[in-house]
Each structure stands twice: as C-alpha cells, then as structure tokens.
Symmetry: C2
C-alpha cells in the first residue's frame, strides 16, 4: 500500500477526530440525539408522501395515510425538552436564536403540529388538491422553522 | 506539529473511512437510520422513568406520564418498514434472525406495544408497585427482543 503524505495524514486524523467528537458525549449529547432522531422520523414519513404528491411514486392511499398518521404522532412527541439551554453547543445545527427567541420557536413548532394534524385528518382518501395543499403546509412549517433556527 | 508515522496514518485513515462508511448510504441506510431513531426516542423516554422508579430522581407524576405517553406513541409508529429485507447489512446491530424468524420478531414487537399501552394507561397517579411492574414489563419486552435479535 502507499503511505500517506503528511498533509493527507493530518487531514485524515482531523476528519477522524471530528467524527468521534461529533458522536461523543457533550453535555447535551442525549438531547441532541433525541431531537435529531425525532426529525429523522419526520423525514422518513414526509419523503414518501412528497414522492406520491409529485407523482414520482404511485399513490397508495393506505401508505399515505399511515405516513400522515405517523408524522402527526411524531410531531406530537414532546420535542421541546430536546432543546435544553446551551444545547446549541455540540454536534448540532441548532442556532442560538432558538433560545434568544424561545416564544417564536415554540410558536413555529405549534404551527407544525397543527399542519400535521390537518394532514392526518385529510389523508386516507383520494389525493386531492386539498390533501396536497395540506402536505405543502407541513413542508412550509418545516422550512419556516429551519430558515429561522437552523444553521445553513 | 509532528507528522504521523505511516502506521498511525493508516490507522487514522481506516478509522475515518470506517466512520464515513458507517454513516454513508448503504442500500438500507435510511431504514437503519429510521429504526435507530425510533429506538433513541424509546430510550429518551424510558431512562427518566427508570430513574424515578429506582428513586434516583424525584418522582414527578406529570413528567412520568408524559414519558409513558410518548413512549407508547413512539412504540406505535410503524417500525416494521424500518426492517426491509437485507437490512442486516450496514451500520446495524440487527441480526439476520429477524428475517429468518419474522413472525417471532413481529410478535415480540406487538408485546412491546401492549406493554407501553398498559404503562401509559396506568401512569399519571402515584408511583405504585403496579406502575413499576408495568414499567418493568416494558423493559422486559425490550430485553426479550434484543436478546433474540440484536448483536451482542
């Protein structure tokens, strides 16, 4: 095998230590893992609904309804304890603005819950423009919060 | 700075590439991320209930009930699509036994849902031996499945 140049070796070490740090136990590592996990559940459910709404995959009403239900259930998990004070430090894209504007943050989160509730209530029948609109409003709620409170 | 010896450099590269692979896009990376995330939500809720039941933290009935409710909601997310065929490959502790014994696996998962339902229904009042027993049964359901289907 070829040995590394010193520069490549340094880069590899930096990369390795960065990844280890990213998964290490910061003070708020568990809270960050939790909130990240909840958002992974959001994405898992949102993506296939989006693909169906855009006609990229065939519409399956039961599958759509299941994802709408699970997305709504996940949005109603108590996420705010996943954002303890100071948890803008660590492996996170959360911006300090969350804590500087906590009311705004919780309002946007409440808007997401309302949007997922409306989608879950509407899902299960045909893929009408009303259902697509409600899915769009969920996406808007995600984006609105990310734009304000997530690192870009 | 000191440069790395070739051996240290190789070790660093192997470590870095392993970590990158672990988080890279295997065929089933998204399913693995999803099921891991759901279990992170389980742990987030289970741990504080366990600490209260053992007297390690003061009993807070509203907090306990909230965790019991969220644990039950998370257990009722549709987790099985997070275990597609072949997803014992990749960054996972899932054993092939899951797919060799799918009925057994789904039975154990159904038992978890029953246990979280019973706990959620019982939570919200005093921390009685009955509530502790129901929490214990949730833990037993976790362990039973991990023993059979998770790498040790």
């Amino acid at each position: 095998m070829r040995f590394l140049t010193p520069l490549a070796a340094s880069a590899a070490l930096v990369a390795a230590s960065g990844l280890v740090l990213a998964h290490g136990k910061h003070g708020h590592g568990k809270a960050i893992d939790y909130r990240t996990s909840v958002m992974t559940v959001f994405t898992w459910n949102l993506r296939p609904m989006g693909a169906m709404a855009k006609g990229k995959t065939p519409y399956d009403k039961a599958l759509f309804a299941r994802h709408a239900r699970d997305l709504n259930a996940a949005a109603h998990l108590d996420l705010l304890p996943g954002f303890p004070d100071g948890s803008d430090e660590g492996d996170t894209e959360a911006r300090p603005d969350i804590w500087l504007d906590w009311d705004g943050f919780t309002e946007k989160y409440a808007a997401l819950k309302q949007a997922t509730e409306a989608l879950a209530a509407a899902a299960g029948g045909d893929l009408t423009s009303s259902v697509k609109d409600k899915l769009g409003k969920v996406g808007d709620a995600c984006k609105s919060c990310h734009r304000a409170y997530r690192e870009r």
